[in-house]
Assembly symmetry: D3
Amino acid sequence: MDGYLDRLITLALEEDLGAVGDITTDALVPAEATGSAELIAKEPLVLAGLEAFARVFQRVDPAIQVEFLARDGQALEPKAVVARVHGRMRALLTAERTALNIVQRTSGMATLAREAMAAVRGTRLKVLDTRKTSPGMRSLSKTAVRAGGASNHRFGLFDGVLIKDNHIAAVGGSVREALRRARANSPQLVKIEIEVTNLRQLAEALDEGADVVMLDNMDDEQIRQAVQLVGGRIPLEVSGGITLERLPRLARLGVDFVSMGALTHSARAMDLSLEIIPSRARRPARKTTSRARTKR
Amino acid sequence: MDGYLDRLITLALEEDLGAVGDITTDALVPAEATGSAELIAKEPLVLAGLEAFARVFQRVDPAIQVEFLARDGQALEPKAVVARVHGRMRALLTAERTALNIVQRTSGMATLAREAMAAVRGTRLKVLDTRKTSPGMRSLSKTAVRAGGASNHRFGLFDGVLIKDNHIAAVGGSVREALRRARANSPQLVKIEIEVTNLRQLAEALDEGADVVMLDNMDDEQIRQAVQLVGGRIPLEVSGGITLERLPRLARLGVDFVSMGALTHSARAMDLSLEIIPSRARRPARKTTSRARTKR
Amino acid sequence: MDGYLDRLITLALEEDLGAVGDITTDALVPAEATGSAELIAKEPLVLAGLEAFARVFQRVDPAIQVEFLARDGQALEPKAVVARVHGRMRALLTAERTALNIVQRTSGMATLAREAMAAVRGTRLKVLDTRKTSPGMRSLSKTAVRAGGASNHRFGLFDGVLIKDNHIAAVGGSVREALRRARANSPQLVKIEIEVTNLRQLAEALDEGADVVMLDNMDDEQIRQAVQLVGGRIPLEVSGGITLERLPRLARLGVDFVSMGALTHSARAMDLSLEIIPSRARRPARKTTSRARTKR
Amino acid sequence: MDGYLDRLITLALEEDLGAVGDITTDALVPAEATGSAELIAKEPLVLAGLEAFARVFQRVDPAIQVEFLARDGQALEPKAVVARVHGRMRALLTAERTALNIVQRTSGMATLAREAMAAVRGTRLKVLDTRKTSPGMRSLSKTAVRAGGASNHRFGLFDGVLIKDNHIAAVGGSVREALRRARANSPQLVKIEIEVTNLRQLAEALDEGADVVMLDNMDDEQIRQAVQLVGGRIPLEVSGGITLERLPRLARLGVDFVSMGALTHSARAMDLSLEIIPSRARRPARKTTSRARTKR
Amino acid sequence: MDGYLDRLITLALEEDLGAVGDITTDALVPAEATGSAELIAKEPLVLAGLEAFARVFQRVDPAIQVEFLARDGQALEPKAVVARVHGRMRALLTAERTALNIVQRTSGMATLAREAMAAVRGTRLKVLDTRKTSPGMRSLSKTAVRAGGASNHRFGLFDGVLIKDNHIAAVGGSVREALRRARANSPQLVKIEIEVTNLRQLAEALDEGADVVMLDNMDDEQIRQAVQLVGGRIPLEVSGGITLERLPRLARLGVDFVSMGALTHSARAMDLSLEIIPSRARRPARKTTSRARTKR
Amino acid sequence: MDGYLDRLITLALEEDLGAVGDITTDALVPAEATGSAELIAKEPLVLAGLEAFARVFQRVDPAIQVEFLARDGQALEPKAVVARVHGRMRALLTAERTALNIVQRTSGMATLAREAMAAVRGTRLKVLDTRKTSPGMRSLSKTAVRAGGASNHRFGLFDGVLIKDNHIAAVGGSVREALRRARANSPQLVKIEIEVTNLRQLAEALDEGADVVMLDNMDDEQIRQAVQLVGGRIPLEVSGGITLERLPRLARLGVDFVSMGALTHSARAMDLSLEIIPSRARRPARKTTSRARTKR
């Protein structure tokens, strides 16, 4: 059960179909016609969102069958066939755009995450995502980031305490006071992270027993001093306008985590297209190597 | 009433809050504390999505007041104050990320649309968007595109007949047959557009009475010949991997419309941030020039 | 709270507006324009559904004010002003059709119910409605029937036991067996009614202790005999293709209730229209006699 | 997927069942009993709404099977068996009324539409429906009208620009101004229709480039002059209190479209009934002629 | 169809899963692993809620199969196997707690109802439930009470008139006035019950034609006098802080009904647990006596 | 915003009202009548759920005003007035039962939690709740537990890793393997807790780096040995059939947490009642001590 994803897919289909439906397809294609289509990669990419892609079709018509020829997290070359979709032709055409709108974006995030991981390969730096996701796409985005090999920060506001600059401002500017309130009022089994912008705040956070500290918008020199100050007692996370270029340097500085908003808010949509296989020339099912095919 | 937007905002807040809520804010900030925050542009941008930004706060707490200091479609410089939000501090902090996730993306689209319009300034070429929008953000995206000065293509599958390559494949490959079926089965008052990939299909479309023709993935020379062939009898639209760089050339070729998927699927999120105004140092309401302030 | 009505109004507005909205009004009328409109009777009618009419406007824009100049159950002459609606012009125009679609139908039912009551005036025969209502309009229909002066049969399948021909068929054809099962398995405080088609079944129903009996599709002579057989021990209801013409005769036959499906499934929509009052010539609020005006 | 229809059916079932359910059926019929029922036409009619009829049963119990013995748009004689429903007896009885409430109304609309088409047979006049549909039944009504052979006007407020009297009033009374604003602010690929009440407005509309004009409440002589004035340059639609009797005359006047609100707001519910087939005397499946049977 | 139960189960699963899901199970158990689990009674109890228990699993994963080895209303000894659940291991673990939270509570109500019935065995006193149910669990609670052998009072506010002390206060304190209004304004086929606190009110209620009277918080002597006063003309119900201990005495006093809020608001949750059957040691399906096994 | 609570309240009101409404109140009380009522404690209790109590009334009628005379967590004596409710009399009567059904249960949980805290007073043992809550009442229950002074364990399956016996069985019985998988696949900032049933498993858990260990169903002697084995390195939680009587002993054994399912699944509903204040004798607003009155 994934009620949130179902709600997003329903919303996306309803904004596209209204109460009227797909007037082009309904005018052209007989209700009983069936057919097949292939999802094809048009550029090198790391795949993500395949389950959601399939679910869009099945929401339009539960009888549609989606056969997976690749899996989330897989790196694909141009022309790779990702999935085959079989069923009523009207449903194939009607669901196409909504399904593509998802898988193109999630694959974009996975591809960017993979590039980030490549930039820190061989180091112990973990690349994390943020909550900067498109509305309704939180879970799809978090899953795509993992498909690309990066790791998830907290999911939402409910599963981790992260004290940010605005929180500190709201309690009058004191790191110490913020941490005290957090400790007094949080669930027993939750770690407490706090964002600091200078070494004085960092020292205060250490002193007050923060479990993790986020260094916000610090330059390399400040980060170096922070790592030295902490001396491995707690994990350190770096955040704020992080680019792929800066990752290797951050890895060498010895921080534990780096969080990149860009993974989910600036990933380019990958080029994947759905192509109807004309029924006269239906190709025989290619017996592709060793990949398991999941009939759904 | 905008039920779709309300559903998207509800979904976005629920995926962020779950049934638990914002455990950081609830631990730090007393329920009765009130305060103010400012939405601030951190880079040059064209604003869009301000209504939705405000609605997120009001969904979290109907008593919150949002004061607009700019309006959708306005070009802003860094440090410009876009809006002020007043009310319960907890609600300000809890709604912040979800509200930013929207306005940063919609402003990104508006900014890109404005750049596209700049590239065709002085010509009669109209830049259109597509249905390549993030799931649930169709309406927000269409509005953002207009805020940037570009125009909307159809909204969804229900308000325009657009026969694409997959439709033609589904009817056996014939442009003529596709147009005949469209004419026979469409609502009386709807225009019919068809996508063609070569001049032979274009001639067939003209012959069969298409109202608009979309030239898909043609190079400049093919487009030139198409324009000549049509001779102004019907509008022509160019589509397929359009970049800002190519726009001026397309304008000179004499087509009527160009549709750019990038407007909604590849716009970068703009940098806007929400900053709590510490209550001790609440600045006096700046009397900004002549802008009307809408108290909502 | 009336969740069902809210869901119906939301559904009706969404099927009319989609995710796009009212493109005519949005193109013509500035967002900030305000105005007034009057709901006017265009033929003699009994009013019903005024609350729902108002709620449609308020669902589109909570700030709209609806002033009632008549009340449900009131008989109106042509040109009577039923209500005034004030607020944003766009909302007035956008909600108009959906609001009219309801009040025209509910007034049709009330008007027909009033005619039925006129046909039995001076007798003790009670005219009842049925469950033959338009999907989603059960409550609106029941209320309209009462506004016309007739009475409600059960609301749905949950608030009364009514054993019909198909139920008797489903238990093997025995009135006696049907009543035994009903008595054994029903809530303690519910009356049991059974539909019979002949006097033998009626005798069986009486013998088995039915609380009410419905005579289905009987002619006058059969009804006369049924009334004689029962001798006032329990109430009798007549049902099946009842017309206004037949009502006076049924009243004389001495039955207690007559149920008319036509009240809710065949009532003609009444002619009511909404007319924008041009703002230049806004008429002064007519001080109409003694009617209370409810500002909502 | 038809989320709107599903919502309407859910609403209709919930208003009939509440949280309690069908207390009569539950008291009489064992949970495990199965059976069959037939949907039978009781008067001459044109069928519409069969899919929705089936969907009601399947919403109550997904295991129910509905066998179609007729199809939407087919003219039926009394006693014709329209469909057979097989499955749990409780579900058959519980869904009966809600399913009938739909199919009786949609068949009423199709039957009236067929009568309208008969009145214009042999002419090129197209009969259109309007947005005067029962709340929640927009799509069912539009489909029923097509089943009867008439055509659909726009579906809702979102898929066509239709400037009506109240819109003209709202912009200060000027047809010219209304058309200018419509052209400036409408989607690129949409036709613009305007309602006029006299020849002066018609001339203005022609001059300003309306795509279609609706002649509202004009008598035959006015219509004749309008047709002459337009001279075939654009299509003309006639509207306002149109009756079946007037249709042949309108056809001779040379207008292109006539829209009839009565098709959806004044159609009488057709008499169709559901009859349980007693299991002892289950008739052998009649091999009816050549009709395809769709097992759903 | 039981939309209310579906909504409750969805709500319960969503509050437990959020948009994130079961992070423990997802981290430990591979997506493709399957397995079985048994629902086992850990103390003597009367079973209720088995359908809802199964539905929770099927809501999480429609492919899960639930095999019933007992039925609602059955008295079980410790270690009795109530049901077997087969399917994806992740779904078994994820649904476990929500399914148990229901069946433990409903079995608690059934067990208490059975004890109440034991206390009145051999008498004609009927034990009724009330509307004092956990929010969202009305139908589950009413069904559980019947499984225990007790009877249902009205389901909600819509299916019976019950005039309570606050209603009498709201009409100015007069039993007579309350009954008059109820009779004048209620549906034709509904019984009217009124709550009285003394014999004077009881006499008034009898005089005004109440169908049933509820004696609220009376001691045995008052009840004795009330029974004498009524003399069997109408049924009497006793209510207010009723305990199991008092039931036999009430039965001897000759009242007809006793309603116990405790049945649904104070029943202790029964101890039932779900135990994963390790796949290596899957026990052979025990052939338990004569019970039918329902594969769902 | 608390969408979950709103959904629960809506569900509870709809199951009580159906589409019909409160037929008793509607028959007796005029629509325009207004009045007041008081929520009164009828036994000693710790209050919880006051916000939800108020929200039920406001869901029925947004115009109702609820004045709080006590606050969540406050210990009340019999006859204490907890709140006053003012507004339309119909709404007061219609919402009464649903509002009481909530506040009686949540106050029951708070009262039991307070008793548990009393049993461990002066020790450092923290009493935690579990996920054994009534479906839909997770958040209400967690809040009530805090109002009583006890603490919350995780909220749901999404905000903490807790490996239970069934998880260990599902991975083949190995504590070590379970912890390894949890560590490899969990979010970076989450603590991992595991349930063990003997000292061997405890040693394995310690060795594998569990953050917290839950001792399930151990007797005092086993717990003593476990505490000794752990030596304060990580926190220990005791769980399984915990009673109030056992708490002091557990505190002396030196464990850190004890979780009690009974707090939310076995708390008795507290006796609180709503009493209409007859309008003739409306008492003057009592000036109760120093409590702030929150007008909502």
